[in-house]
């Protein structure tokens, strides 16, 4: 079992990142909480569909559970289709997020709790493509 935690850094003491699609790292642990590896999110700066591509990244790496702060409506679809469990509401360090997960304090979800594009930087004006 591989649990992926959205993180701002590469180890268990790093702060979690509230975003899914645009978080810089995923800290991967097994069900006992042992650090397996850290994946750098290749899609964090993707101009389009970062959530979808990050979800694909989770699937391709054999992740079975994702612990996130928030997750968007597009990202959640591939994760659910692939049978990945999604828990939201993490905060603090990666270790603290794991602890909350083990104590059943996180809520498992089948619904997005972030609006589209909320993980990308703001910036007003008409977007020109």
């Amino acid at each position: 079992m591989k649990i992926a935690i959205c993180s701002t850094g590469s180890d268990l003491n790093s702060s979690t990142d509230p975003r899914f699609g645009r978080c810089p790292y995923f800290v991967l642990v097994d069900e006992k909480g042992n650090h397996l590896q850290t994946l750098e999110n290749e899609s964090q700066n993707s101009p389009h569909g970062a959530g979808i591509s990050t979800a694909q990244f989770m699937i391709n790496n054999g992740v079975s559970t994702v612990l996130a702060g928030k997750i968007g409506p597009k990202a959640i679809q591939p994760l659910l289709s692939a049978g990945i469990d999604i828990y939201t509401g993490i905060s603090g360090s990666v270790n603290q997020a794991l602890q909350s997960y083990n104590e059943n304090k996180l809520s498992r979800t089948n619904n997005a709790n972030a609006s589209p594009h909320s993980g990308s930087g703001g910036g007003g004006g008409r977007k020109r493509r």
Partner: protein, 289 residues
């Protein structure tokens, strides 16, 4: 003599493209085809008040998966730079709203399991406006990813025997390039501000890169601010017209009327400018042949 195709563009938004394009169409004194190419926010109809008599859909091809053939190899999701496909469990999820219709997935699919199917992304509408104006506009559906196909569809409908005026979107990115491409003259509308000058410079550079002759209209012009005149002189760009900062023009505009309808001399100025543009484009055409 072939009539010119003129694009009214700006770089900076809110400088008066649509006002200028509408005024030019009304002042032309000849049959005009007017194409509103600002397909995200078409608004020239406010001034020209067309009566739309025809509507056509604009579609983009997006992938459709044949599960009898798909081997879930994931090549389609791999190559999609817009992340419009994902391979998840026993499904290929498609996100047509992200698809730019590049065709990569259906060309590269080793099982030939992907076929392109049309998805409507916008419409084009047309009909007669006042006097001799044949009006066209494109409207991109909310949430659709790309404007160029809709702009292209509007341009393809143009019968290029009359004087043609294109109202471009603001900026200097893809939609503006799509609008400008293949047209004879870029009429660049700006205002005497630093941002007006900065964005005018980008628009001038773009027109030059596309080999389209250009000229400048200074809108909300005031004598004491000569920042644009200086720029134009330094960069050898002709200033074709100045529309003064004027309460009457603003008042008429705010009521949805093109200022040439009521403000004296303005129509004459536009007509003179059009004659200049016609001469320039004829000259350019002859010298390039």
């Amino acid at each position: 003599m072939k009539k010119p195709v003129i694009t009214v563009a700006s770089g900076k938004g809110g400088t008066g493209k649509t006002t200028v394009a509408s005024c030019l169409a009304i002042s032309a004194g000849q049959p005009v085809q007017f194409l509103d190419c600002d397909v995200e926010e078409p608004n020239a109809s406010i001034f020209l008040k067309p009566e739309f008599t025809s509507t056509k859909p604009v579609s983009l091809e997006v992938p459709d998966i044949d599960y009898n053939k798909c081997s879930f190899c994931g090549k389609c999701a791999d190559i999609c730079m817009y992340n419009a496909l994902a391979v998840a469990g026993d499904q290929i999820l498609t996100f047509p709203e992200l698809c730019h219709s590049c065709g990569g997935c259906w060309v590269l699919c080793p099982e030939k399991a992907i076929t392109p199917v049309p998805r409507e992304i916008g419409i084009i509408e047309s009909g007669p406006a006042q006097k001799n104006i044949e009006f066209w506009q494109g409207k991109l559906h909310v949430g659709a990813p790309t404007t160029p196909p809709v702009i292209n569809a509007v341009k393809n409908e143009a019968v290029k025997e009359h004087l043609t005026i294109l109202d471009a979107p603001p900026g200097t990115s893809c939609p503006v390039v799509e609008t400008l491409e293949g047209t004879d003259f870029a009429l660049l509308v700006t205002e005497p501000t630093l941002m007006g000058r900065n964005d005018l410079d980008l628009a001038v550079q773009l027109a030059r890169k596309l080999n389209i002759p250009c000229g400048v209209i200074i809108n909300r012009s005031e004598e004491q601010y000569d920042i644009i005149e200086k720029y134009c002189k330094e960069n050898s760009v002709p200033v074709l017209m100045k529309i003064p900062q004027d309460r009457e023009i603003a008042r008429v505009y705010a009521r949805g009327t093109a200022p040439v309808e009521t403000v004296p001399h303005l129509k004459e100025d536009f007509k003179n400018m059009l004659e200049y543009i016609e001469r320039v484009t004829v000259f350019e055409r002859n010298s390039s042949n």
